[in-house]
Amino acid sequence: MSQASVLPPPAWQGQAYSTKRFGVSITDCDSEPVQTPGCVQAHGALLVLRPADLTIAQVSENSAEVLGAAPAALLGRPLHELVGPAHAARVQTLLQQPEIDCNPTYALTYVPAHTGLALDASVHTVDGVVVLEFEATGREAGQQRDFYALIRRSVAQLQRATTLSELGDIACAEIRALTDLDRVMVYRFHDDGHGEVVCERRRDDLPSWLGLHYPAQDIPEPAREVARQTWIRPLRDVDGGLAELVPLSHPDSGRPLKMTHCALRGPSVMYTEYLRNMGVAASLTLSIRRDDKLWGLIACHHYSGPFELPYDLRAACELLAQIVSLQHAAAEEREHAAYRQRIDTVQQQLVTQAAHEGGLAALLDGPPTLLDGLDTGGTALYYRERWWCAGNTPTEVDLDALRDWLAARPEMQLRDRPLFATDQLSAHYPPGQAFAGVASGVLAIVLSRSAKNLVLWFRPETTQTVKWGGNPHDKPSVVGPHGARLTPRASFELFIESVRGRSKPWLAVELEAALRFRMLMMELIVARADQLAGLNADLARSNDELDAFAYVASHDLKEPLRGIHKYAYQLAENAGQFDDVNHQRLAGLTRLTLRMDSLLDSLLHFSRVGRVELQLEDCDVGEVVEEALDMVAARRGEKPTSIHVPRPLPSVRADRVRLREIYTNLLSNALKYNQQSKTTIEIGWLTAREAAARTLHTAKAEEATQAMHTKQIKHTSWPPGASEQTVFYVRDNGIGIEPRHIDQVFKMFRRLHGRNEFGGGTGAGLTIVKKLVERHGGEVWVESTPGQGSCFYFSMPAVTGPVSRV
């Protein structure tokens, strides 16, 4: 029933794999154990040593031809019996270095007596065993090549590459110069796995393969995995044959040898046949890695016969591959530096614009708009439950469906890179075919955790002509000369295909820019959220005030209303008789109506005080006080009153009208609540420094008062903030306030006395004073001694300058 059971078990089931024995039985390239082929290329010999005593555990079957000693003579024997104690000691020393693991390093040069031909040996460890590989040195006896000298020039050139293709060209030229291989190519993997020759250097008589595409199955996954793990894979001779290890599995562990890092690793039969079909005699493959991904290969083909790549040249090539990989990102960055800068500039402007105008819609209002950044045909933003589009985009119905599909994509769930990009939407999302014309390419980023708010960029379809090096639609496996098994394709005829539903691909620089844009937008959204939180706090505060209003309205305003109703009722009952009693009732009705009116006025005034924008200016407080005194003059009446200003009042930054209102309220209270034969009022101020000293003094005095257990005397409540502000005060010799009522004097409509005492009033004055002072960034408080008088203080920011709204 299960799909897995369809595959037949491999031919080598239950025993060690050997390419030599089973290589032609492969039915599925993706299952071939290319890392444990059990065989080496026959031109060299391989020894597997035990690390403890360097005795030989496995040896390639060709040891007699290469090393001059048959496997039977070597197995179980210590290494020094073959190469001598000095060389064995050298290997022992190298094994002390941790870098030796999976990293073949030159160990020794050995000249077997039976040939007199010098062999270089490199050593590495893998899975706890020591691997020693012998190959011809490829040079005259005594001659040493300095591979650093070989590539110094190449390295300098690679570092100067300003584009990816320049980097590739230099790499091809330098490797060809170094090795004299017939064809050197940079082979780039596309997102769908197929490859393209993007750079090439070749022998002049060979046809160019530049620009040709090759299907993904030409390089099966196991081969790609090896390419990810190693920098270099040489094949000396397609027809050179294989030499099997003896024994095939390690005698101690029973495990096959992992040969991923061996230069002598035996190639798969599929690979040698593929090369033979192309007429290739020898090959060298180097990896180009980018951010731990296999970006491509430097693929080298040799046609004119076997190709020697001795250890030192191999090391030079390996180093070049590493440098190409290292320089890859830098070259691409240089290539797109100007573009990247343009995108960044536009995006910065956009975010500034959006921040300024307080809405993401600004991104599409322009100039610039989102369209001016990335090179796209259209863009769409989904935010606040609607689409904002510019340029050529799918319809909103199509966008809705695409958004829902994108929201479910795993790429969009990634925490750091919630980004989806394709140059062929319909391949992932079949409904995309309907709008492939405007949106074959889609780049999407997420603006919120829910993946609901998105920015999308669209690229139109560009019909492309792809030249395939052979028909990519051929089945990868056919019945070949070896029967029903996998055979690599034999035809490399040019196959030209017109590709639809594709856009220009997205560049890495564009993806990174999109992600940077996302970060900017997220910051903006977070900033907006902070702003909203602030507004919500304001709203909560005004809701509290509204609550208080509702309460006051239900209570204080109803009371006169009830009286009015009562008199009206009684008048109605006694209609027609306008005697003195009824006249009194009418008078009461009028009075209550007026009171109602003044209560309502106070309420409305108070709510205005909380809302209206302050008109801040530098005010001469002395002048303001003069005006306030004029306004309360009527209240002074006949009673002797002395107004005392101990020193000239300063200037302060305030709303002049509101400041005057503060003073008229305080002064009218001072005049009202006074039973002395002569009213004395002092209007003064303290500098911030004096206020600070006073705060300290008050704190000490309170301590002292408490120490003496004296309950009486002044109620003091100097706020700590007063020490940084200028403090103004109005002191009277009036009736004072009981300490326990001090907290109530600033409450709306709270009165401490009967409504007809002290000239009445609504009880809103000090509430309004408090609100006004707070709006100016200050505080208000009172000191009072019953029977002796009160002193009302208020503070204002000491420095002249803009005052923040409270």
């Binding site: 239900s554 009371e559 009562k566 009722y569 009967g754």
Partner: protein, 144 residues
């Protein structure tokens, strides 16, 4: 001759005080009604040397100075006064006020309707209930 039972009205509104006076007349209650405009005045009155505690305190909540809530709390937390029935008569239907008063020991909570007829009727009912129906503590006057 025993003194008439005393009813203290804490009320700063003359109109509402008059309505209560009308209610006393309407139900022909034999009481001496003493009106004080503030909570402080009420406390002063209660703390005077007296032979009997008042039969009832009718308490407006929104009085100047010490308000009705505070006065209620002071009466109910003073062992020598706490047995006096305190009936709140207020304009406020706010649940917070109602809750506060009952927690503070109010014996009842009545609303003052805006309509005069209803207001008068309510006060007549309140007086009738507390003066005629309720069994008072001994030594407090009232019906025997």
């Amino acid at each position: 001759m025993t003194e008439l039972p005393e009813v203290i009205l804490v009320e700063d509104s003359d109109e509402d005080a008059d309505t209560l006076q009308q209610a006393v007349l309407r139900c022909a209650a034999k009481v001496q009604l003493r009106r004080v405009p503030t909570g402080d005045a009420c406390m002063a009155l209660l703390q005077q040397p007296r032979t009997a505690l008042p039969a009832l305190v009718l308490m407006d909540l929104n009085t100047p100075g010490t308000d009705g809530r505070e006065t209620l709390r002071m009466i109910k937390s003073d062992p020598s006064l706490s047995t006096i029935p305190v009936v709140v008569v207020s304009t406020s239907a706010n649940p917070r006020d109602v809750d506060y008063c009952y927690r503070a020991g109010a014996n009842a909570y009545h609303l003052k309707p805006v309509r005069y007829a209803e207001h008068l009727e309510a006060m007549v009912a309140v007086l009738g209930y507390w003066l005629d129906r309720v069994v008072a503590l001994p030594g407090r006057g009232g019906q025997t």
